[in-house]
Amino acid sequence: MRTWLTQHSRTLSSTVARLARAPVASLLNIGVIGIALALPVGLYVGLVNLQALARDLATEPQLSIFLTLDAARTDVARIEDRLRRHPGVRKFSHVPRDQALADLKASTGMGDIVGSLGRNPLPDAFVVDGGDSSPQTLERLRDEFSDWPKVGHVQLDSAWANRLAAALRLGRIAVLLLATLLAFALIAVTFNTIRLQILTQRQEIEVSKLIGATDPFIRRPFLYYGAVLGLAGGLAAWAIVWAVVLLLNHGLADLSQLYGTRLELRHLVATDSVSVLGFAAWLGWFGAWLSVGRHLAEIDPQ
């Protein structure tokens, strides 16, 4: 057991030493892996942020009922009455068309444009809270309200949230695909690096085999090298993403001040960070394992 630990710790330290012996080549390798991993990781961070944003915005989905422009006061009153008696409506409010116009004038500074209009282009509207906010219920209500007389259009506020969720699902698949492709790239990079190392250490391997080294003993430093390379690449990717988020947050701070809100991108959470690093190390190890299995058998001492 002690021997085993000694051998492993010795292999690890000599692996790090070997990386340090060729700093430029090592850094380039780590850079390639880091950038390749930073793409999917960065996209993932973006997705997580969008998801969080979507969750914040879509808390209370509402239905907006817009009447047709020719709806008279009596029509408005009739609809108001029907809504009051409808069992599926929890509460609702009426936005008269004049008030909507006044709000528009006041809020967006488009007073001149609105003032230049000959007549009010806005319809009467109702904002309705459904009894429960499940998409099915809301969609049923929307279909029902659409059939009422003098109703021009029913807008389900959660519709865009659903669309966003679908888009995010699509994004998730894209990230997954990208991650898979770039994982292959990472495996290829380590595979090739290890192949070159095996070639340059051919004689050492041959001698070691001749004087009684077991296959696991010969394989071990290469596997360690692959794993350490992957881990370092993962760290580089993590650092790149962290730096990008930091930079973007600087820009966002200015932007959100202008809009009077607070927007801030979140960094990778700890568990995700650990997963990224672990996955990168595993990929490096796997690439090395493939390479060693393939190239070590070719070296048979004569």
Partner: protein, 224 residues
């Protein structure tokens, strides 16, 4: 103990390197395998260390049938040997000390104990002052002695050398002969493949003489 019985070795392509070779090398013996080049000396050594397997017959080393060993067991067989190669196979990307350290790393020695043994082995071959040098800066004789230090550092029970004096002048060859003799005196079985008659005359070993792959004489040690 190394025991060959009715060993044949045919290489792919039909070349027959050994034909019906049988002999026994008892523990603690100094044995020379002699013969012209192509007589089968190297093949004999390769069969002992499972680098090659016999086509038929059996090779038994320390009670193990080498020809029938599982690949997984071969490294452990090889740890019984100290090997000195014709081309030395030194590693020029590391210094003298690290070259000798290699077998101890493979055997999993603890670092301090390993360093002690490396120094002892280097001292034995007279290279203690050169431990930081790169082997490429050593002379031919020193390189050969370095190869010997690497072969004996893990205290093998059998020392195998393939033409150890091939590229050395007489003085260096004699020096080397003295080293082999001293290992033999502490109980190491020494097997040397050579056609160096001078060395043979000096060390008076047991002889295994080969000609065209056949054993022509296995003489007792008192006949040079």
């Amino acid at each position: 103990m190394i025991q060959f019985s009715k060993v044949y070795k045919r290489y792919p392509g039909g070349y027959e390197a050994l034909r019906n070779v049988s002999f026994t090398i008892p523990d603690g013996e100094m044995t020379f395998v002699t013969g012209h080049s192509g007589a089968g000396k190297s093949t004999l050594l390769k069969l002992m260390t499972a680098i090659e397997r016999p086509t038929s017959g059996s090779v038994v080393v320390n009670g193990q049938n080498v020809g029938a060993l599982r690949p997984r067991a071969i490294p452990f067989l090889r740890r019984n040997f100290g090997l000195i190669f014709q081309d030395q196979k030194l590693l020029f990307d590391r210094n003298v000390f690290e070259n000798v350290m290699l077998p101890l790393n493979i055997n999993g020695y603890e670092r301090r104990e390993a360093a002690r043994r490396v120094r002892a082995a280097l001292d034995k071959v007279g290279l203690l002052g050169r431990e930081k040098s790169n082997p490429i800066t050593l002379s031919g004789g020193e390189q050969q002695r370095l190869a010997i230090a690497r072969a004996i550092v893990h205290r093998p029970s059998i020392l195998l050398a393939d033409e150890p004096t091939a590229n050395l002048d007489t003085d260096h060859a004699n020096e080397l002969g003295g080293l082999f003799k001293s290992f033999n005196q502490v109980g190491v079985t020494v097997v040397i493949a050579t056609h160096d008659e001078h060395l043979t005359a000096r060390l008076e070993p047991r002889l295994i003489a080969l000609k065209n792959g056949e054993l022509i004489a296995a003489l007792p040690g008192d006949v040079p």
